[in-house]
Symmetry: C2
Subunit: 256 residues, 2 copies
């Protein structure tokens, strides 16, 4: 993806791609989405898109970069509750509710498109195919959140981390099909801990044991997956929860 297309009609392509992976999107509906009025917004240096408690008047599509959704306990512990990639709608819940329950924050730099809530909702209302796909998006979001609960609730630290890497790999690959076996994680070890319900110290130790195991090759925040099948098995990972199984399947790499 080159920078120049981000200002053209094709800027919302990542969203269209995502919707098409989840179901059938008629051409006229796709065109209607592409013609939505939107504001480009560049975010730098881990800026917040939405802060807990703020009111929200726009629906945000992530065009480039990665974002997280998180919430805190009263004791100040932070838990990352979701991960967003280009093409993802990152604040549907907040947009509907009007007030944000959670904070949404990008990593490093990111680019988003913001569409007024009312315009977006009118589109979903007037075009049943779009309404249906957005509903499916939300159903998949919920399925992902449940898988995270399972991950945090019942898997040990090692499996939990591997499972997270698998989800990251699959979603990263869907959003941006470069080399699917090389992951550049934007997370610090503390942030990984916040996503996994672990401390940064323990994340560090688990990462080291993974390197010692040769389960993954790691160099700083870059991780190379050497054996995807074995990784999936060790991670107890089944990507079914990331998909709408009724949607047409797109096969990316034959070894996956």
């Amino acid at each position: 993806m080159r920078s120049d297309i981000l200002d053209t009609d094709r800027a919302l392509q990542p969203l269209l791609g995502k919707l098409r992976r989840l179901g059938t999107l008629p051409d006229d509906d796709a065109a209607a989405i592409a013609q939505l009025p939107w504001n480009r917004k560049e975010l730098r240096n881990a800026a917040c898109i939405v802060r807990q408690g703020e009111s929200v008047r726009c629906c945000t599509v992530l065009l480039r970069g990665i974002a997280t959704l998180d919430r805190m306990t009263c004791t100040g512990a932070r838990q990352i509750l979701g991960l967003y990639f280009p093409g993802d709608l990152i604040d549907l819940q907040q947009a509907f509710a009007g007030d944000a329950l959670d904070t949404i924050q990008v990593f490093d730099d990111a680019i988003v498109a913001q569409v007024p809530v009312a315009v977006f909702m009118a589109l979903a209302r007037d075009r049943p195919a779009i309404g249906r796909l957005l509903w499916i998006v939300t159903l998949v979001d919920a399925a992902i959140a449940r898988e995270w609960t399972l991950n945090v609730g019942r898997r040990d630290a090692r499996t939990r981390l591997l499972h997270f890497l698998c989800e990251f790999a699959v979603r990263q690959d869907e959003a941006d099909s470069s080399d699917p076996d090389v992951l550049t994680l934007p997370f610090t070890q503390e942030q990984l801990g916040d996503a996994l319900g672990l401390t940064s110290v323990h994340v560090n130790r688990v990462l080291q044991s993974l390197r010692d195991d040769h389960t993954v090759e790691r160099d700083g925040r870059t991780i190379r997956i050497t054996n995807w099948q074995r990784l999936k098995q060790q991670a107890d990972f089944n990507e079914a929860y990331l998909r709408n199984t009724n949607a047409p399947r797109t096969i990316t790499a034959s070894n996956r």
Copy 2:
């Protein structure tokens, strides 16, 4: 609620009530829901509504009883991922996907209404207000799942259990407004553990310490809340995530 109304036109009232709590439901749309063709199904003795891997052809509305959604890890550990009360649509995800990712199971005895998926989807498509409300239902489901992730990931066993009790109390009360301060939990301590990512032994110990504390009064599976405000505070519980904040608020009890 008496048994005899379960066979009449008013049987789907719990669903209508739930939708009205989340937004505006025009009368003609409500009538269309009430006129949906549905099959009554009685479930006995912890029967499964949907089993992991099965295909699903009906949308299920829980009319009476309580249901859980759970998934298992490859090591056989079980995690309860969701809780359903009368009025809840309990298998939207499964219905869309066609194949069930999870198992949905009732406690003891329950009664459900089953609507063919195609009929249900047509209703959502043809009536934007209903489509919108169902979307909101799903958004709230996702928000609940995220709160569970936070609960399991970052709260200690005591707070986690209290938080679960709070959610149970509020949702139970919404679905069936009897005495909001008395909860009859249908769960064994093992099932509570499965919902909280704990072992039954530890749940037992935490429950005992709560009784010793006088945080709650407990007699078998019946729990009496003596001080809701204090409980909420200790549980780090804020019910905002259970609601669509744009919807009209219904106040139940003044002390809540």
